[in-house]
């Protein structure tokens, strides 16, 4: 009993130390930023406008939520527009990559048929499609298609990897317990692959955010955080540009955080942790 309490205490201390160090890390960053902004203002005022003070950025951050920007939108509108595109791209990528990965991982013919196409398209940066997709598919589905490409391949490859790594011993065990092809798939292959699917989703979401910003910067309609950053930059509102960048960072952390939570819950529910 005693030892359990001690372990718990140590856990708390470690937790607080972690929070302290994280805060320190961010504080140091802000201090360096502040110092650099001072330095520029004192020595190189011509460039000082590009690096606003942290305080100015914070003000711009708050202001972007309460005051309409030059396009008549609030930050919440932009966030909503970006989240919508990311979500659509993610759902489409997941809905296609998951069955495709399962199929290509478990069937040699499907793999032989699919791999050449995958290998041709995978090395192409999703952003290379911007000129085509944005014109053909428009301001909503164009960026969605680019995000889709970014998320699709990590999920596809991780699912394939998972299926190929299914423990042959578990296959043997299931066979001796009477499992046919269908049961093998749903009761062994699918649960075994789940952690790989989650890895694919997390990697995919990170790439998705990189894609959405660039795709929106070029797109002109319907808002979006990427568009917001671009638009504010054209007006020379660099404090607002930084605020937009911060928004992207926060959204990226939040979505990956949500994915990690889902993953954790899933593992606990499946008893893998």
């Amino acid at each position: 009993m005693k030892s359990i309490i001690r372990v718990a205490k140590e856990g708390v201390i470690r937790h607080w130390r972690r929070i302290f160090l994280s805060t320190l890390s961010i504080a140091l960053f802000v201090i360096v930023w502040q110092a650099y902004a001072w330095y520029l203002n004192a020595n190189d005022p011509g460039y000082a406008g590009f690096i606003p003070y942290p305080g100015e950025t914070a003000e711009a951050f708050i202001d972007s939520f309460v005051t309409e920007d030059p396009t008549g939108l609030l930050m919440t509108d932009h966030i909503f527009a970006s989240l919508k595109r990311i979500s659509l791209g993610f759902l489409l990528a997941f809905a296609i990559a998951l069955p495709a990965g399962l199929l290509m991982g478990s069937n040699r013919i499907c793999e032989a048929l699919g791999m050449p196409i995958v290998e041709i398209f995978r090395p192409i940066p999703p952003l290379a499609w911007i000129p085509i997709f944005l014109v053909v598919l428009g301001h909503l589905w164009g960026p969605v298609a680019i995000v889709f490409l970014g998320i699709f391949f990590p999920i596809l490859f991780n699912v394939m990897l998972g299926v190929k790594r299914v423990d042959p011993l578990l296959i043997d065990a299931a066979r001796t317990l009477g499992a046919g092809r269908r049961h093998m798939f749903f009761k062994v292959v699918l649960p075994f692959t789940t952690p790989y699917v989650m890895t694919g989703i997390k990697v995919g979401l990170g790439i998705g955010w990189m894609c959405i910003v660039a795709a929106e910067m070029v797109g002109q309609y319907g808002g979006g955080v990427g568009y917001y950053i671009w638009n504010r930059g054209e007006f020379g509102h660099y404090d607002y540009v930084f605020a937009g960048i911060a928004i992207i960072a926060i959204l990226g952390i939040l979505t990956t955080g949500v994915a990690s939570q889902v993953e954790r819950r899933l593992y606990i529910w499946m008893g893998m942790k």
Binding site: L169, A173, T176, L177, G178, G180, K187, V188, G271
Partner: protein, 261 residues
């Protein structure tokens, strides 16, 4: 059960692993398959289980020829092979789910076997929280839940420490007498074979066939230190030593032969 077994297997490079292997198991009999490593004892078991294809011969279970894996032959693996995402109960119910048995009946059956292998209180625990011995209890219960005609055990206690191993041997005999299953048990431990078996089948190495069958006619529970136990043990060892020497000789000469082949 009439279980006639004649298996013939050729690996790549035409290595004859088993040739004219014949073995009958009587209903409710406990048979240990013993032999030097590489003699093909695990291959015999995997062929009977339907996990490996045979290149010739026949396997009969209850007079019916079998091919491919099936729930009439339960297998207990050395590495446990439990489904990590399933609880103890759900691991045991795996075969029943496949048979489309109703949830209530599944629970009744799994509870019965959880009691049998002494895992009460661990029903909802996942395999990674269990010790090796407990994992193998789940493995045994899972194989038995399908009510197989024969229980095939491939060095099931090989991954356990000595104490747990002895305990599990006693537990297995208790479970065996409670279920009256026919057991084919693969091991390389002479001690384990003499402690468990009605009959010990000693195998020759490459091509594997039955070298000698020794009936262990000792009452259970057996005392490892008794004179009878030690005498049977030394009989088995004698046969095994002769075979082991032959294997060593052959392996030495094989080094030259295999390159030519």
């Amino acid at each position: 059960m009439e279980d006639l077994l004649k298996v013939f297997k050729q690996d790549k490079g035409e290595i004859v692993a088993l040739k004219d292997f014949n073995l009958d198991l009587a209903d409710g009999e406990f048979v240990c398959l013993l032999g030097p490593s590489g003699c093909g004892k695990t291959t015999v078991l995997r062929i009977v289980a339907g996990l490996e294809t045979k290149s010739g011969g026949h396997v009969f279970v209850n007079g019916k020829e079998v091919s491919g894996a099936g729930p009439d032959r339960g297998v207990v693996f050395q590495e446990f092979a439990l489904f990590p995402w399933r609880t103890v109960r759900r691991n045991i119910e795996f075969g029943l789910e496949i048979k489309n048995i109703s949830a209530e009946e599944r629970e009744a059956v799994s509870s019965k076997y959880i009691d049998l292998v002494n895992l009460e209180g661990f029903e909802n625990v996942h395999p990674h929280q269990l010790s090796g011995g407990m994992k193998q209890r789940v493995g045994i219960a899972r194989a038995l839940a399908n009510d197989p005609a024969v229980l095939l055990m491939d060095e099931p206690f090989g991954a356990l420490d000595a104490q747990t191993r002895n305990l599990m041997q006693k537990e297995l005999l208790r479970i065996w007498s409670a279920t009256k299953k026919t057991v084919l048990f693969v091991t390389h431990s002479v001690d384990e074979a003499v402690f468990l078996a009605d009959r010990i089948v000693l195998m020759t190495a490459r091509p594997g066939k039955v070298k000698k069958t020794i009936t262990v006619d000792l009452p259970r529970p057996r005392e490892r230190t008794s004179a009878d136990f030690i005498s049977i043990r030394s009989d088995v060892l004698q046969v095994l030593d002769a075979e082991f020497e032959k294997t060593m000789m052959r392996e030495r000469s094989d080094v030259g032969v295999e390159h030519k082949a």
